[in-house]
Amino acid sequence: MLELKDVSYTFKDGQKVNPVLQNINLTIHRGEFVSLIGKSGTGKSTILKLIAGLLHADHGSILLDDKPIKLGDVGYMPQHDLLFSWRTILDNILLPTEIKKQKKVKKQEAIQWLEKVGLAGYEKAYPKELSGGMRQRVAFLRTLLTGKNVLLLDEPFGALDALTKKEMQAWLLSIWQETKQTVIFITHDLEEALYLSDRVMLLHPDDDLEESPIPFERPRSRDLLYQQDFTRIRKKLEDRLRHDEN
């Protein structure tokens, strides 16, 4: 169980002060798939960084299974792909394995993963030789291979075409169903959020976190996207988002 209790965070840089998050409360259960949506700049990425332990809340606490969260507890995929330019693709995705000595992922296995995300034959390439979407997939794989129980994914499929995105989504769901990892997923694609999640959290600019449970059964089929219930929730969320306009 992952709990954010009354979390506040303010960016400070000399004189400049930018209070981004105030009194955020959020509880995510083990194995849950939660999407985080909201307008650009509301603080979604900041929340992930706080959970990853990269930033420290000014107030409040973040607990994982009742213990304060610490670095290395979760798998984190940042919004920029941040591939290491001097490492091959294979070495990039093997990085978490190098760091945590337990749960070794073998080279052969890693190459199979690459094939699954459509990057067969790229294991020896360097990041500069990849397109934007390909880099994103590599960064995604790298996060997956941390093997953590909690995955924080910051717009993992943002730069992908519909088709590749769909494949990746299906694939992510199948992995998730198998491993029962907890996933927090940032996206701007409502359809994606609804299709994947158990719950969608909408972060308003006033730091209110609005919850929308997505009650559809699993496994979900793609047809879901055209069902009335689905579009109704989607419409509702769109309205709620539009509400932030003024």
Binding site: L82, F84, S85, I99, P127
Partner: protein, 254 residues
């Protein structure tokens, strides 16, 4: 074959320039504008080199290179260790950095009695001078290189639960390489100067010793013969360093 060709293409210009320069020098000295006991004619220097080639190369250059080699390796090893220690600990940095700086502001000549006391006239006094001169750019370059890493990557590694040491080996080492190599190129040249100066503090072989002896004999051509060989050695060492740099930094541009 390719290598040789590209080498010629690259340094052909310099070669042409050098030839023109040498011919001009020859003319100037020949014409008596500059006395040959201050700047000898290139042809005299050439003769001085050829006449003593085997002793210059197999005795003196060899010894100087040995001093340089040991001194440079020590500089790199100790310089890197110091830089890494400073990188990991502010406390160490606060103590070490001033000492490193002090070591550089002391004129070598003032240290010569101390070196004599400690090392006598063995190779180690020259190695010590070489080390003293060459380790400074390595410490500064390596330390600055280590600190210059983009913090987003560090954050990524931290989020994976990487230890300080892992962050260091996986990220900082690689990201420090460009600055580090820049300083290695300086250091290898300084090491050469260091070995030369070290020989002035007392030696019986080496190009520094040779040049000083020749200077004592008022043999300007002999002095410049040693300098010529030193310069060529310096350029070759620098090129080797640059090639290693190029090699290791190949996949850098993102």
């Amino acid at each position: 074959m390719m290598k040789i060709k590209s080498f010629i293409r690259l340094y052909g210009l310099f070669a042409i320039f050098t030839v023109i320069f040498l011919i001009a020098m020859e003319a100037v000295v020949e014409a008596g504008f500059v006395p040959s006991y201050i700047i000898p004619a290139p042809s005299e220097v050439y003769r001085a080199i050829i006449d003593n080639l085997s002793s210059l190369i197999f005795v003196h250059l060899k010894v100087t290179m040995l001093e340089l080699g040991i001194g440079f390796i020590l500089s790199v090893v100790i310089g890197v260790i110091l830089a890494v220690a400073m990188f990991f600990s502010k406390t160490i940095e606060k103590i070490i950095y001033p000492i490193v700086l002090i070591s550089q502001t002391i004129p070598i000549i003032a240290l010569s009695p101390i070196f004599v006391l400690w090392f006598g006239y063995t190779i180690w006094s020259k190695v010590a001078v070489t080390f003293l001169i060459a380790f400074f750019p390595i410490v500064v370059g390596c330390y600055d290189g280590l600190r210059s890493g983009n913090s987003e990557y560090v954050d990524l590694l931290r989020s994976m639960g990487a230890t300080k040491w892992q962050i260091f080996t996986k990220f900082h080492v690689s990201s420090a390489l460009p600055v580090f190599f820049s300083s290695l190129k300086l250091a290898i040249v300084y090491a050469l100067i260091g070995a030369t100066i070290g020989e002035w503090l007392g030696a019986s072989e080496g190009l520094g010793y040779y040049s000083r002896r020749m200077s004592g004999q008022l043999n300007a051509a002999g002095v410049f013969a040693a300098i010529t060989i030193l310069s060529i050695a310096g350029i070759i060492l620098f090129i080797i360093m640059s090639l290693i740099e190029k090699r290791l930094l190949r996949n850098r541009r993102s």
